[in-house]
């Protein structure tokens, strides 16, 4: 079998994650979906590195992980503080940007 299937899988996961971001209202779940998308990307990177026979792809995936970690930390902190003030974690309730 051709490793390109990994890419198809990555694409599929990415799409699912995206759909999740659009559908779910719970901020935490939305976050998880984003993580899912990131992971999909990582999978793609890893596959690419295998494809090209050098480790740069893995390096990128590595960095992605680091950044994701940082992002999750900050993001969850934000969610917590929002929850403290508004007693809900629904992204729709945080729609103060509209006029």
């Amino acid at each position: 079998m051709n490793p390109v299937y990994y890419l198809y899988l990555a694409a599929l996961l990415f799409t699912i994650g995206g759909a999740g971001v659009l559908i779910r209202r719970n901020a935490i779940v939305v976050f998880m979906c984003i993580e899912l998308m990131l992971n999909a990307c990582n999978l793609a990177f890893v596959t690419f590195s295998r494809m090209h026979g050098n480790l740069d792809g893995q390096i990128i995936a590595f960095f992605t992980m680091v950044v994701a970690a940082a992002e999750v930390v900050v993001g969850l902190a934000i969610i917590v503080s929002i929850f403290r003030t508004r007693h809900t974690a629904s992204v729709d309730d945080a729609s103060l940007m509209k006029l």
Binding site: M1, N2, P3, V4, Y5, L7, Y8, L9, A11, L12, L13, F14, T15, I16, G17, G18, G20, L22, I23, R24, R25, N26, I28, V29, F31, M32, E35, L36, N39, N42, L43, V46, T47, S49, R50, M51, G53, N54, L55, D56, Q58, I59, A61, F62, M65, V66, V67, A68, A69, A70, V72, V73, V74, L76, A77, V80, S81, F83, R84, D92
Partner: protein, 287 residues
């Protein structure tokens, strides 16, 4: 190390198809399940599968990191926050924004199709595996790259992590601006507020049951929500025993009357198991 030649072995193929299905299922569960906890768990599953795929792709280091950092740390962090926040009843999957779901589905599918089509018509035939790249060991290879070619990016991510940590602290930390209220002040406040001047009633404790998750019954036998812990209430984990106790009461009276020999034929047949109708509830609330 020649395992990872261009074309993957059959074993890998089998592994791919089995675990791939698992991964997709996990992803779908992540976005479908109503309770955040379940989503988190299924996502963790997907991630583990992905870790295995990394390994299969010769990214040994990443695979381990994936399991340790992602599944181990990040997902646990998620669960932690879920416990902290999302223990309330699961959010309904009913869509509030008009047409959002259809748009999401349409765009999602369209996007996926586009991606897959893109991958499809990209000519990715020849795979020169990681054989020689991993020759000196995968970790060594990565390390060599990170500390030479990508050293700046590495440093910057370090800075990023520190910043993130500090930021999280700043965001979540709450300075206590005023002294905690003493019991006296609280009571004064309660009286000012004017409801629940006495302390909250105790949960129902009876001969047969004895637990904090059972609401105490009002004189008319209706359960009082106030008597149970709000968290249990929020989770809806309350055991309502009003029916049984009422039924027993009735039976007791019957028997005693029979025993006293004064029966009244016009005694209405009590409902054998009549859950307190909502109206009685309200009455109970009134009393």
């Amino acid at each position: 190390m020649t395992v990872l030649a261009a074309a993957a072995s059959t074993g890998e193929a089998v592994q791919f198809w089995l675990l791939g299905i698992v991964a997709v299922a996990g992803a779908l569960c992540t976005i479908m399940l109503r309770r955040a906890v379940h989503s988190a768990l299924s996502l963790a599953g997907t991630m583990i599968v992905l870790a295995i795929f990394y390994l299969a792709n010769g990214a040994y280091f990443l695979g381990i990191v994936q399991i340790v950092v992602y599944t181990g740390a990040i997902m646990m962090l998620f669960l932690f926050v879920v416990m902290l926040v999302g223990v309330t009843a699961a959010d309904s999957l009913k869509e509030t924004l008009k047409g959002q779901r259809w748009l999401a589905a349409g765009l999602g599918i369209g996007f996926g199709v586009l991606l897959i089509a893109g991958i499809g018509n990209a000519s990715l035939k020849q795979f020169n595996g990681l054989g020689d790249a991993n020759a000196g060991g995968n970790v060594q290879g990565l390390a060599a790259l990170i500390f030479t070619k990508y050293v700046f990016a590495f440093e910057i991510t370090g800075a990023l992590l520190i910043t993130a940590a500090v930021g999280a602290m700043v965001l979540t930390h709450r300075e206590r601006t005023e002294r905690a209220k003493s019991q006296r002040e609280q009571s004064i406040a309660r009286i000012k507020e004017g409801k629940h001047i006495p302390p909250l009633p105790a949960p129902g404790v009876y001969a047969r049951h004895n637990a904090v998750d059972i609401p105490g019954l009002l004189p008319d036998g209706t359960p009082s929500e106030l008597t149970v812990n709000p968290t249990l209430r929020g989770r809806g984990q309350i055991r309502d025993v009003s029916r049984e106790s009422l039924a027993e009461l009735k039976a007791l009276e019957r028997r005693s009357e029979k025993w006293l020999g004064r029966e009244s034929a016009d005694e209405p047949e009590p409902p054998p198991s009549g859950g307190p109708a909502p109206k009685e509830h309200t009455e109970g609330a009134k009393k």
